[in-house]
């Protein structure tokens, strides 16, 4: 997306200044944008989560495929964050934290209602199955 914008911007700049370099850069940015579009699509396709009976599965990544298993009983707290861009599209990111710093369970790009529902159901399940350290 930024590459696309940069491409258009550079093309306009090239039009105005008539420099060849700007055109070249614009073309490069457009090609890059097109390629990254595909990657974004694939990455989007890799995101996923599944609520199982006793644990949550979170999957993400194309190059480095990650699959995390987080038992509900081990969750310490749940974050729901929404950056400015996410807010503009009505999205939110849910992140789970356990006592282990390395736990990396992040579910990006959820609809806001879905994020709220997930948060509440996870909190409930976590409370029901909580275990000590």
């Amino acid at each position: 997306m930024p590459a696309l914008l940069a491409g258009v911007g550079l093309a306009v700049a090239g039009e105005l200044s008539g420099s060849r370099v700007a055109y070249g850069l614009a073309a490069a940015a457009l090609v890059l944008g097109a390629i990254s579009w595909r990657f974004v699509g694939r990455r989007y396709g890799s995101w996923g989560y599944a609520e199982r009976e006793e644990d949550l599965l979170v999957r993400r990544g194309v190059m480095f495929a990650r699959l995390s298993v987080v038992p509900y009983g081990r969750m310490q707290f749940i974050d729901v964050t929404a950056g400015p861009l996410e807010r503009a599209f009505g999205l939110a990111t849910v992140r789970l934290h356990t006592a282990a710093a390395a736990t990396d369970a992040r579910i990006p790009g959820l609809e806001r209602e879905e994020a709220a529902r997930l948060r509440d159901s996870l909190a409930e399940l976590g409370e029901a199955q909580a275990t000590g350290l």
């Binding site: 298993v69 081990r74 350290l133």
Partner: protein, 440 residues
């Protein structure tokens, strides 16, 4: 502590600010020496006297406003004059209670009690300082309370005569000084080489070397020296003993520490064999207890470092200790498939893993061999990761995350199918292990 106030509040030892000041106290004394000796005229000494006065007053006030007491199952500490803080530490969450005696504290016969708490934000409750003869009873009382609070034993009387664990413990291992020195030198042999090189250079052309040292080199040498000193100071004559309430560690050269590691609070165990130790058959046993990498109120030395159980021991002794900590550990570890050679040519011989119903073990490190054991009931989450190169070779890794600080057991570079089944298996086993009633 000796000064009781109404409602059971207690104060710390009156000398606490002096000891807490540490080096500053010594500096003040040095400042005062010329005045006391009368070599300085009084008018010249006014600034010194004012500074000293302010510091003494500050110390006195901080002592006056700090008080603590045991409330039911909590330890309450109140402190601060302007910014009043009331800290509550639930004793049920105590991981370990350490007794620390820095050099100055030993001079004044006081000691610090440190309560390590669990939880991600785990703070450390510090009672600094308490008179030496009151430390042991207080610690036993707190430990008994911590145990009682966990088991909800109503019949446990908190004020009763606490048991003395010191009487019934038996010593498992003591570190010999010579061995400790040798082990530190052998583990940090490159440091020794550099230092020797520096000395040789100094002999050859003092000018260049000293110029280099004045810059970054000096800071580096100093930090390395403190690192080694700290380790030596901590691990000097370290004794491991087995008591009814866990493993007792005692030792130290200038600063004496004594701590208890309660069974069931150990998140992971690690056996480390640095390269040059291996011909000698030495090893080090480290345990990981709950807590994040960096915690407030902890000394620099403990940051990101594991609790060393035995700094250096023979392999047989190390294995014996590990048998105590993880009784049901896997005996046979399986190596990864041969094609891992293409991904990690140096490491692949050292990689392996194994599991039993309650424990997972992994090994790594070609030169510095590390074996890690994680009890499955301590597993926080599991991660299955596959990088681009691993995908090419049909490999994958499974990470076992614990609440510890540094041990991350990783089933590195396993066959993809094996990793997937291991993930499912470990998930089920960890669930079963959590369900099982805790051992303590």
């Amino acid at each position: 502590m000796s000064t009781g106030t109404p409602e059971g509040w207690q104060r710390l030892h009156p000398l606490s600010p002096v000891v807490r000041g540490g080096r500053a106290t010594i500096a003040i004394f040095i400042l005062l020496i010329p005045i006391a000796l009368g070599t300085d005229r009084f008018s010249n000494a006014t600034p010194q006297l004012v500074i000293t006065g302010v510091l003494v007053l500050g110390g006195l006030v901080s002592w006056l406003v700090t008080r603590w007491r045991i409330e039911d199952d909590d330890l309450r500490i109140e402190t601060g004059l302007l910014r009043r803080q009331s800290l509550r530490f639930p004793l049920a969450q105590v991981q370990a209670i350490d007794v620390v005696r820095p050099g100055l504290a030993r001079v004044f016969r006081v000691a610090e009690l440190r309560l390590r708490m669990a939880g991600a934000s785990g703070a450390t409750a510090r009672l600094a300082y308490v008179a030496e003869h009151e430390v042991e009873p207080l610690r036993s009382q707190l430990l008994a309370l911590a145990r009682g609070a966990r088991h909800d034993e109503a019949d446990l009387e908190p004020t009763g005569e606490p048991e003395r664990p010191a009487a019934e413990e038996h010593v498992v291992a003591t570190v010999q000084t010579g061995k400790l020195v040798a082990s530190i030198v052998l583990e940090n042999w490159w440091l020794v080489v550099i230092l020797a090189g520096l000395l040789a250079g100094f002999a050859a052309s003092p000018h260049t070397v000293s110029r280099a040292l004045r810059g970054v080199g000096f800071v580096w040498v100093l930090s390395m020296a403190t690192f080694i000193w700290r380790r030596f100071n901590q691990q000097y004559r370290l004794t491991v003993a087995e008591g009814p309430d866990g493993l007792h560690l005692r030792g130290g050269l200038v600063a004496l520490t004594a701590e208890v590691i309660r069974p069931g609070r150990v998140q992971a165990v690690r056996l480390v064999e640095p390269f040059l130790w291996r011909p000698l058959g030495w090893c080090r046993v480290e345990v990981d207890v709950a807590g994040r990498q960096r915690r407030k109120g902890e000394g620099e030395a403990q940051r990101g470092q594991l609790r060393t159980l035995v700094p250096v021991a023979s392999r047989a002794l190390g294995v014996e200790l590990i048998d105590r900590l993880v009784p049901d550990r896997p005996r046979e570890l399986s190596p990864p498939p041969r094609r891992v050679f293409w991904k990690s040519p140096l490491r692949y011989r050292a990689l392996s893993w194994g599991r039993t119903e309650t424990c997972v073990a992994t090994t790594s490190g070609r030169l510095r061999r590390v074996v890690s054991w994680v009890p499955l009931e301590k597993v926080q989450s599991l991660r299955h990761v596959q990088g681009p190169l691993q995908r090419r070779l049909r490999l994958a890794s499974v990470h076992v995350d614990t609440a510890g600080r540094a041990v991350h057991a990783t089933l590195r570079d396993r066959d993809a199918a094996e990793a997937a089944s291991a993930l499912a298996e470990l998930t089920d086993l960890a669930r079963a292990a959590r369900r099982r009633p805790a051992l303590t």
